[in-house]
């Protein structure tokens, strides 16, 4: 199987969907002539022309709202946010319009839109550019949100998102764009709402998503090599819809759960996961559920300190050791 980058995997998904469906159009800041701020859309303008690959002015509320309106008429826009942090200037459009129109119309109107872009810290760009709002989106019924962590998942989930008839918000990571992994040449789609066991194990379940997946995998390796502990790493991939079954099956097997995410602790995604585990697998737990989140403050700039604020593999190891 060929190894390609996470960036290339997303680009391949976009290209395949553009070719499959004439209603798919890519819109965003710098996506066309500039080839994408993070080069995800590099070369697509040349291949598909300006009708399918459209440069938008710096006007998130305007162009995201426009995409939502176009999707009501059956266009399938894939909107790029240069950073998910910029979503907040388009929040009314993304929440009130994309999230509520189907409901308020009694099901008469669908909004088949995809909004995608990176959502991660760790790049020393300060608080305004480091948000991870998947928990906020997941709090909005009507919206779906996925956080792929590998090239394989990024491609398969992106294709599913584009074909979905509901709004799907895809959160990528600038730190993952350059990472590589095996992606089959033949076509595949990964259903939204399906978690993936990134590493099998028997002693403890580590639940993670998005940028925290590599953190969890590093911790699992340390646990195995240095402490002889077999950790199972469950990558949620999709936050809403949520694959509770895979989480619960794993916890029932290992009897311990440690949850890692880049959200802040208060009302983070893992708050919901912890609730689910205690609610549906309480009798299987041999220890309290542990959480590792980003330290509860706006993202710090200082390059020396930012890695301390974000979830660290060493902290995950400590938390696991504390409940064994």
């Amino acid at each position: 199987m060929p190894e390609i980058s996470y960036r290339q995997a997303i680009k391949d998904a976009l290209a395949e969907e553009i070719e499959r469906d004439e209603n798919v159009v890519i819109i965003g800041e710098e996506v066309a002539q500039y080839n994408g701020a993070y080069k995800v859309t590099e070369g697509l303008l040349e291949r598909y022309g300006p009708k399918r690959i459209v440069d938008a002015p710096i006007s998130e509320a305007g162009f995201i709202g426009m995409g939502i309106g176009a999707s009501m008429l059956g266009v399938r826009p894939v909107m790029e946010l240069m950073f998910w942090s910029f979503a907040y200037v388009a929040w009314d459009q993304m929440i009130n319009n994309a999230g509520c129109v189907r409901y308020m119309s009694g099901g008469l109107i669908n909004v088949p839109i995809v909004i995608r872009g990176p959502a991660n810290g760790g790049t020393n760009v300060g608080a305004t550019h480091s948000h991870t709002p998947e928990n906020l989106i997941a709090n909005m019924p009507g919206l779906k949100v996925v956080c792929p962590a590998t090239p394989y998942d990024a491609k398969g989930l992106m294709k599913a998102a584009i074909r979905d008839n509901d709004p799907v918000y895809v959160m990528e990571s600038t730190l993952l764009y350059g990472t590589t992994g095996e992606v089959p040449e033949e076509e595949y789609v990964i259903p939204l709402g399906k978690a993936d066991i990134k590493k099998e194990g028997t002693d403890v379940t580590i639940v993670c998503h998005g940028p925290s997946v590599p953190v969890a995998l590093t911790a699992a390796q340390v646990l195995e090599e240095e402490h002889n502990i077999s950790a199972e790493v469950v990558d949620l991939r999709s936050i809403r819809p949520l694959d509770e079954e895979t989480i619960l099956e794993s916890v029932k097997k290992t009897n311990r759960a440690v949850l890692v995410e880049e959200n802040r602790p208060f009302c983070g995604v893992d708050a919901q996961i912890a609730y689910t585990i205690q609610n549906k697998a309480f009798d299987y737990l041999d220890a309290p559920i542990q959480r590792i989140s980003t330290i509860d403050a706006p993202a710090i700039y200082s390059p020396a300190l930012e890695p301390e604020q974000l979830p660290k593999a060493s902290t995950v190891v400590e938390k696991v050791l504390g409940i064994m």
């Binding site: 308020m104 119309s105 979905d164 509901d166 399906k194």
Partner: protein, 369 residues
């Protein structure tokens, strides 16, 4: 740097002259049926709104109720110009537009009462009517938030290679929202067939135009100059003037795929919403009476039809009483309709959840336990 003074009062257009405006090219070939149809639709909207006000006062309608009384000529005039690929979207003062495009009073009234038979099954309420089968895309609650959606409709029309337009309505209070200006820019930049229609009733809730907006002396639409966009001021008391101005904008959209901003001068007699207890504090009784007496679009049109002998007194009475009856029947229909069942709360959230046999995703969509 020269300091420009902001106009202190909104510039009211000269009084209309329907006999003259009836001869404009877009109006001169209208049949008697069509002319009476406009009258019927305007009366229907007014009677519907009056009836809904009574239902509200009986305590049967929750939340807000923004009435369209005084502005009927705009929705009816614009709807009369719509073809297969012309679309409409508006804000929360949206009953008139819905009725004008052909929604029926029963579904509209039932929606106000939150009934299962409402146009949105009781899920939208007064501010959120939708009829996509009639190219009517709502009914939106956040001031100005619908304008980017309207530009998206125009984008969709163009993307699909159709000759059409999207009329995006807003009040004079919406013109200072950032999203509106972003939408203006995109429509002009990309040559989209969008028509921005400012229904200027003089007040953004309780704040008059002179207290809310800085603008060129020609008015609110003239801000279009900053976006290199066409614009026009229209006297809203004349349905013929509305058809003339909006018709030009539609032609521009259809033939050149270019946007337009229109400012249509109008007035509302009721408060911003029925709950607006201070409706008479921010304006004078004399002002309200003046509009009612001299500039009411329905009265002005009725007089024109009677004076020009297009409509007889008898025909008028029939139309009036039928509209009243229709509103009465709607109120009764709404009253007698069932409320939606509790299970319906989680319906119409996700397309997938409502179409389980076609679902492609897995996992949990709702989190109620």
């Amino acid at each position: 740097m020269s300091a420009k003074t902001t106009p202190k009062k909104r510039v009211k257009p000269e009084s209309s002259n329907l006999a003259k405006e009836a001869k404009l090219p877009i109006n001169k070939d209208l049949s008697k049926d069509e002319l009476l149809g406009f009258y019927r639709d305007m009366v229907r909207i007014r009677r519907f709104e009056e009836r809904s006000l009574r239902v509200y006062q009986q305590g049967k309608i929750g939340g807000f109720l923004h009435l369209y009384i005084g502005q009927e000529s705009i929705a009816v005039g614009c709807a009369s110009l719509m073809g297969d690929h012309d679309h409409m979207i508006t804000a929360y003062r949206n009953h008139g537009h819905g009725l004008a495009v052909g929604m029926n009073m029963n579904e509209c009234m039932a929606e106000l009462l939150g009934k299962a038979t409402g146009c949105s099954k009781g899920k939208g309420g007064s501010m959120h009517y939708f009829a996509p089968d009639k190219n009517y895309w709502g009914g939106h609650g956040i001031v100005g938030g619908q304008i980017p959606l309207g530009v998206g409709l125009a984008y969709g029309v163009k993307y699909k290679g159709n000759i059409g337009s999207a009329m995006a309505f807003m009040g004079d209070g919406a013109i200072n929202q950032g999203a509106v200006h972003e939408a203006y820019n995109i429509a002009a930049l990309w040559d989209l067939p969008a028509i921005f229609i400012i229904e200027n009733n003089g007040y953004s809730m309780g704040t008059s135009q002179e207290r809310s907006s800085s603008h060129p002396k020609e008015g609110l639409a003239a801000r279009a100059e900053g976006y290199n966009m066409a614009w026009e001021n229209i006297n809203g008391e004349s349905i013929f003037a509305i058809r003339d101005g909006v018709g030009r904008a539609i032609k521009r959209a259809h033939e050149e795929s270019k946007p337009t901003i229109l400012e249509i001068h109008t007035y509302r007699y009721q408060g911003h919403s029925v709950a607006d207890a201070n409706a008479k504090k921010y304006r004078t009784k004399e002002e309200i009476d003046d509009y009612r007496k001299n500039h009411d679009p329905l009265n002005v049109y009725r007089l024109y039809l009677l004076d020009s002998k297009i409509m007889s007194e008898d025909e008028m009475k029939v139309i009036d009483s039928e509209a009243k009856q229709e509103a009465e029947v709607a109120a009764q229909f709404a009253d007698e309709s069932p409320f939606p069942p509790v299970e319906s709360i989680t319906e119409d959230v996700y397309w997938e959840a409502d179409n389980p046999d076609k679902r492609t995703s897995e996992g949990r969509l709702f989190f109620n336990d």
